[in-house]
Symmetry: C2
Subunit: 403 residues, 2 copies
């Protein structure tokens, strides 16, 4: 026998291979012990730095102090409690430009964004490793893992050079008869760039034409954990207003700083061609992946606090301060529009070299290579203001070394 | 195009087909509206009826009232917070007869028992649809779904006729060169029968011989959501004390009445032949199925309340009362040893016919056919004492009709 006595080699590989982010995380822990946490400027992780709004703890205390805890802490239906789902539907309807009515029947609660994506992908892929899913680089590193694991084949399309805006022509050129879906993620991890309603409308028009050309449904899967963390003048557009065959994957990890609570949802466009069957296929996928129901206490919490978010300005001000300061030191940065991230151009160095040099100045950043793009490093600014300010002298010295 | 415009047909099938239990659940809701909830005796569902111990709400309130909510509600590492995992390891070690030391490195927190099973199966199966997993009937209805979805082939072995004790010879006869694992579930859903340490030792001896005969690892996956709900004089034996290559899948759904919290774990035998690689393969499987980490708040809750359970006597007394009363009416029942369930023999009728007749008396039961066994019906006694007592006159009338 081989491959460690015949374990699943793909799983063993995924479990053994540390991601770049995870390696930096381990290094950071050790280094902080060596020289003191205040002397390590760790911008590697996208873990929310802002506490959940106080209403979250208040709501939890109210719920666990009520009668009938057996019901509160018991199973909900697999797709989630209907009254909680209705609350989400009402909230999404309020985000629409007025054309789309979303009900609880369009909502399927999940254990967060990763679950939302896996369940959605499994529902539409035929598990023959031929179905293609187009992803836009830079993309969240796990996209390729999820698509392959759910039986599909990721097809990577680059976004616009230097601006990281969506490149609709490039996506159009990548569509084939095997294309089952296009996945987008705005505001984007890791670029910090978002999509405008105009770009979404253009993407939709192109997908409608391509669907007709190939005589098949091409789904648009919009992964939106950062939907509210958008610093532009235009709110994040609702994908259902633009494209019929769309699936919105959401998580409260960032908007309510509830990453550990594992609560999110899939919303199906009510106008999708096979909306009801798509919903049933999502129910079946969740079932076959072992997702019995999403955490019941947190279904209640997010439904009752619908529309509430952490103070987004904290992230916006972090982004503006970093952009202004690092630009003044001579770094070239992508203008931040949302999410927790800002990209720094590696210039003459490779992304990995840039990170290695920054490490000498105790600054921890992530090379974008694992996100499908070369030549940039990701800075995650979900940190306290003071931590950011404290890092500037190190960045100054780094700039003096580099330029 | 067909199959609803080419959705995943397996997922669509799973999402569309209502289980027998789900159909009875829907009927129950309607019937209660028609004739009043107090007149419907619904014994179909295994949803815990006893509220979680008050310590659960107290612990939650303590945790969400503390400082640094960003950390409490943030991501933990994928396998779970190390201090919480260590607490589980210490607890499991205390259950050992003294030979097995379990540490946090053997524990992987999950979103409940279904997740534990799917992740474990994916770690050991090669996804070629040839690997066989032996399950023992009667078995939890979702076992076949999970095994097939994770790429394996379920092989059903019946337990002993009329007693539903484990049939070790029958399992031995079903083992082939393709057997990757044997899955057991004691105390058992739906039979209410459990396994003794002696039977577990015999099973282990047989598996050691068969592993040698076929020159391969045969894993023993022990699914134990009902481990503490055991009414016999012997506590549920710890599988690691008996068999090296074992995996324990656990959930707090029943022991702490936290079914909706989606919290459980996989424990890997520290003596397993490829223990470390098995653990890594489990990490990789969780990652590829979209399980980022188990709910962080509840990792903390169950770790801090390690060993606490609901009052098991409530279920024990329910079981004893039902057994005594229904036997006195002339029904033939399997002696309940644990879990939430008792089987009633359908006698001259098929299980479905028996359920249909019981329904005329407003008693809702589940035929065992979906559990892989014919001729019995399952009664779930996770109900209030008063609800049970109120049902007896209906059972009396049912017995007079039947006998």
């Amino acid at each position: 026998m081989s491959v460690s006595e015949k374990l699943n080699n793909k799983s063993l590989g995924l479990g053994s291979k540390k991601s770049a982010i995870r390696e930096i995380f381990e290094y950071s822990k050790l280094r902080k012990e060596e020289i003191g946490a205040e002397n390590v400027f760790d911008f590697s992780l996208g873990n929310p730095s802002v506490s959940p709004p106080k209403e979250v703890a208040e709501k939890i205390i109210e719920l666990v102090s009520a009668d009938n805890q057996a019901q509160l802490q018991g199973y909900t239906s697999a797709q989630g409690d209907i009254s909680a789902r209705n609350a989400i539907g009402t909230h999404l309807t309020s985000l629409s430009k007025g054309e789309t009515q979303i009900t609880g029947d369009n909502i399927y609660f999940t254990c967060g964004a990763a679950a939302s994506l896996c369940i959605s992908l499994k529902a539409i892929l035929w598990e023959n490793q031929k179905d293609e899913v187009i992803i836009v680089a830079p993309y969240f590193t796990e996209y390729t893992v999820f698509i392959e694991s759910m039986g599909g084949r990721p097809v990577v399309v680059q976004s616009m050079k230097d601006t990281f805006k969506i490149d609709i022509n490039a996506i159009a050129n990548a569509i084939t008869k095997n294309t089952k879906a296009v996945m987008i993620n705005y505001p984007n991890n890791p670029s910090g760039v978002t999509i405008t309603s105009r770009e979404l409308a253009e993407l939709s028009e192109m997908l409608i034409l391509k669907s007709a050309e190939f005589g098949q449904i091409i789904y648009l899967i919009s992964d939106e954990p950062y939907r509210e963390i958008n610093f532009t003048n235009e709110k994040s557009p609702l994908v259902f207003d633009y494209y019929k065959n769309s699936i919105l994957c959401y998580s409260y990890s960032k908007s309510l700083s509830l990453a550990g609570a594992r609560i999110g949802y899939i919303a199906i466009s009510p106008k999708a061609k096979v909306s009801k069957d798509l919903y049933l296929a999502i129910c079946g996928s969740g079932r076959s992946l072992g997702y019995v129901c999403a955490p019941s206490l947190f279904q209640r919490v997010v439904a009752d606090l619908s529309g509430l978010t952490v103070d987004i300005n904290i992230y916006k001000e972090n982004a503006a301060l970093i952009y202004k300061t690092l630009t003044s030191y001579g770094f070239e940065l992508i203008t931040p529009q949302g999410a927790f991230y800002i990209l720094i151009k590696a210039e003459a160095n490779t992304a990995q070299e840039f990170c290695n040099i920054a490490k000498q100045f105790e600054i921890l950043l992530v090379p974008t290579d694992d996100f499908g793009v070369h030549g940039y490093v990701r800075l995650a600014y979900c940190k306290t203001r003071q931590e950011i300010i404290n890092s500037f002298s190190a960045f100054k010295r780094l700039s003096e070394f580099l330029f």
